[in-house]
Symmetry: C2
Subunit: 245 residues, 2 copies
Amino acid sequence: MPQTLAPAATFSPLYQQIKALLLSSLQAGEWQPGDPIPSEMELAARFEVSQGTVRKAVDELATENLLVRRQGKGTFVASHHSEAWQYRFLRLVPDSGEKVPLKNQFLSCNAVKPSSSVSHLLRLGSGESVIQIDRVQTALGKAIVYEQIWLPQKRFAGMTLSFLVNWSGPLYAFYETKFATHMVRAEEKIKAIAADAVSASHLQLAPGSPLLLVERMSFTYGNKPVEIRRAHYDTTEQHYENKLN
Amino acid sequence: MPQTLAPAATFSPLYQQIKALLLSSLQAGEWQPGDPIPSEMELAARFEVSQGTVRKAVDELATENLLVRRQGKGTFVASHHSEAWQYRFLRLVPDSGEKVPLKNQFLSCNAVKPSSSVSHLLRLGSGESVIQIDRVQTALGKAIVYEQIWLPQKRFAGMTLSFLVNWSGPLYAFYETKFATHMVRAEEKIKAIAADAVSASHLQLAPGSPLLLVERMSFTYGNKPVEIRRAHYDTTEQHYENKLN
DNA sequence: CAGTGGTCTAGACCACTTC
DNA sequence: AAGTGGTCTAGACCACTGC
């Protein structure tokens, strides 16, 4: 009887289980972005494992950018408010290399019926609507980004243009404090396209000019997609930077 | 006497020193790509540290993709020959999602005097020449990539067109076996541009069509830059994919 | 079965931060 | 000085591979 017998319960190491517990605490909002989580010794006591096992779980969450360790101080829930995390997902940099602050210019913010592709990507129920935000970003007076953003109406109820305009800083920090939604990771698909009339006018270019089309899907805890962006970059004096490891 | 006294030798943990030793063995070619390195116990004995310390050093090299761990078998030097590592740096995927094998079409391979920017990026001495390779890659008969590649003549001496043409498979695997050069990481800068006459004809497009310009610099061990690419992608039916963490 | 990497523990000590 | 994360050790045992 050749007894191959399926890999049983596939075996999950203890630290993976601890990691899952920590993740669900994060997802449940037990600890808020920017706050410290309990010390390793406390967690070890709570879960009745050794400090080393907690450590390995926390290590993985830290390399996934969900937690941030600070020696001597503690371990903190990652936040888009912290310095140097601003624009964490923005890969567009000036050719010159000098970092220039981007200026926001919100054009509109309305509840709309989602296109079928957006609805599908956000995994919305039928009939659920979305909030669409249009904006332009400028560097030193020159418009370089024109983008449309779609958010599930449910999670972002109360989002209005005036609400947005009174916020200064990255959108992701805004989502975090105003809508209790922390973005964990994102995926982008990039193409080169010819500018249509709308994009061209927002970016002060001739129609037909080459633009970088960047479609981004962002996820919160639990791999839940909660934001779609469709951005047009003018890469005349900027470029998209990527590191391959 | 307020004794702030500079952070002394800045403190380097043991495992970092071990990691540096392993790195220099890799760089010196003591172990070749695809080969196993000594077991953790052997390394621990050699360096006179505990297994756990070796482990942490190897862990870091593994997450940097310099080593590959295989439970029950050993730890191996990463190689571009291994399955699923083919095209490790290629982020271009068909919109349809179905993976299609790329077909190579080498146009030329000549020793040339480098442009000042290439010479600078490759950190060449004055007078050093480079090898320039031009190629087109096709998927299902349609040309989708036209690129120029520059390599330092010194390291890649003997590279010829016929040598290239007789190779099937990724270039990086070719570099590895024929020129003892393993690529460790790369950086890319991306723009949208209008096709010039040359690119347009190679990609069977109208001049002025939007193209993705991807400039890549690749590095071997020790952060040494050894390849520059300037690629033009036709993204009509493909896109560049990127994950942000 | 022996050898490899992978997990887990318990305890000691170090480096950094704060009071 | 107390508390945090960070390093290092020694040893036990588990899971996977190949002979």
